[in-house]
Amino acid sequence: MGRKLLLEHINVPGINTFDVYRQKGGYRAVEKALKTLAPADIVEEVKKSGLRGRGGAGFPTGMKWSFLAKPEGVARYLVCNADESEPGTFKDRYLMTYIPHALIEGMIVSSFALGANTSYIYVRGEMMPQIRILEKAIAEAKAAGFLGKNILGTGYDLELYVQPGGGAYICGEETALLESLEGKRGNPRIKPPFPAIAGLYGCPTVVNNVESIAAVVPIINDGGEEYAKIGVGRSTGTKLISAGGNLRKPGVYEIDLGLSAEEFLYSDEYCGGIANGKRLKAVVAGGSSVPILPANLFLKTVNGEARLMSYESLADGGFVSGTMLGSGGFIAYDEDQCIVRNTWNFARFYHHESCGQCSPCREGTGWMEKVLHRLEYGHGKMSDIDLLVDVSKKIEGNTICPLGDAAAWPVASAIRHFRDEFEWHVTHAGEATTHNFGLAHYADPLPKKEESVA
């Protein structure tokens, strides 16, 4: 049974209100931070915790904070990235919906640590219900003296606002988010300068994911060292995994990093296995942008070791036989799912969401979508498969922001692991759109304990 640091009280009736959240020990971290700790102490605790950014990149949060420039007389900003739009990822929506004060409390502690007096939570525009929930929570916190002027009599001032986006996945990229927050198109900026030097309105800015900011609360309450005791190696603490696809029990789960992939997928405490008595064919472990893995490689590394839900274990083998933890957006595919169709679907997504600023991404994502469409609908040629690999290589690493990589990896990895399924679509063009042939040799054989890595 894993620890629950973020979701401990998620089932308590009324936990979305200030009063109940407070009764359950909420806002202790604000009192402790503002009354007993210096900002530098908080940064130090976050460093000790080993917390890595929960939005997908996994960069150490404390280190990111320590890069923040601190020139005198210049405003500093904390911006929460709640532009959750990565296919497979829905943990931040869950957190904001059911326990919004966890985010508000984290924003106050983090803003104090960074010396920010105005902070923004940039929420994707489609999440209007969550925006209303957060605005109500902010009003409650302010009425109780935890926001506004002279918080708890400590002399610290903080205004916190919610900013709606306009519907653009690219705004989850931190510099595109800042452009959007400034009222512009969400075109990513060239880095450097990084936001820590020149971010919102040209001022030093930290952009953190919802889950990262919420995790600061237990880190301050219990200490960074306690937090770092959870997990495995450099994957410390707990992580929210949002699980969807063909699962018996899809949903958001808080796990100790280092939980075995097999336990997460099959145990009743978490996903409960594959729905409808089917077998597992493939997994996307960290949101649509990370490489897809066939069942056998997801459950065990090529060395035969049990795969763990951690940054390092999922990355074991690099992109040849591994993947990434990413945002924790977990998608399971049963044996009937068509990998070509899924890859086309993701390619369409990235083409739709490319901001169009860089030619390789603007042109390449559309090209991949077209080629995958013709393969899926029975008009493809065998040479199309290598063409896709070629185009994906020419996008990867050649764009201002990581959206190009995010578009390339699903295509490249699907062909790497499921090439014969792409070839099948060419040789069986007339049957290609039945979508349910499911090449069984990829599937995790039942009983699941006996699988071996091919």
């Binding site: 405003a75 959750e84 739009s85 990565e86 296919p87 497979g88 990822t89 829905f90 931040d92 929506r93 105005t118 923004y120 994707r124 525009g125 489609e126 999440m127 209007m128 219900p129 205004e159 606002y161 900013q163 709606p164 986006g165 306009g166 519907g167 653009a168 996945y169 959007s180 927050l181 400034e182 009222g183 512009k184 198109r185 969400g186 309105y201 949002s242 699980a243 969807g244 696809g245 063909n246 899809p250 949903g251 958001v252 996307v284 649509s288 957006g329 998608i331 595919y333 799912q337 169709r341 899924n342 679907n345 993701f346 997504f349 739709h352 969401e353 901001c355």
Partner: protein, 177 residues
């Protein structure tokens, strides 16, 4: 290029109410002095909630209010997918069609909605009540398939043909009252 597809309706003059303008001013107060352009996205949401879409005169008025150029409003409004550049149905059903929703039947739900409403994606029903479209990931993959309806962006999860029937029936009844 500005995606204005219905030229017959775009030139009707628009005057924002005092109540709406007061909301704009409240939003502007969230940003440092001189950074009022930050209010653009939230204000466009309010304008669209009021009028159902963003006409050129409405966008010009927003530009005047924020003291920015009209082109600065057009380029933002046309970049983001939530802003409509032409009139829509009173209720716009937005069905998620990406990855996890697709593999548990989003495509069939979209086909069902198309047949039930009798209009293609992006078109408006004759009574003006409905339009529908497929949208990219709505970040609710564990509850798939899902759809949302603006301007409140009410969410409907685990869709079935029966739940779509119920939803559309309820909206028709609501529109009559």
């Amino acid at each position: 290029m500005l995606r204005v597809e219905d030229t017959t309706q775009q030139h009707e003059p628009v005057t924002f109410s005092a109540e709406l303008t007061a909301k704009f001013a409240d939003i502007v107060s969230r940003y440092p002095q001189g950074k009022q352009k930050s209010a653009l996205l939230p204000i466009l949401h309010l304008v669209q909630a009021e009028y159902g879409w963003l006409s050129v005169p409405a966008m010009d008025n927003v530009a005047a209010f924020l003291e920015i150029l009209p082109i600065e409003v057009y380029e933002v409004a046309t970049f983001y997918t939530m802003y409509f550049m032409r009139p829509q149905g009173k209720y716009v059903l937005e069905v998620c069609r990406t990855g996890p929703c697709e593999i548990v039947g989003a495509g069939k739900i979209m086909d069902y909605i198309e047949n039930k409403l009798g209009v293609k994606e992006g078109e408006v029903t004759a009574d003006g009540l409905f339009s529908w479209r497929g949208v990219e990931c709505l970040a609710a993959c564990g509850y798939a398939p899902v759809l949302q309806i603006g301007p409140e962006y009410t969410f409907y999860e685990n869709l079935t043909e029966q739940s779509v029937d119920q939803l559309i029936g309820d909206l028709k009844a609501k529109a009559k009252n």
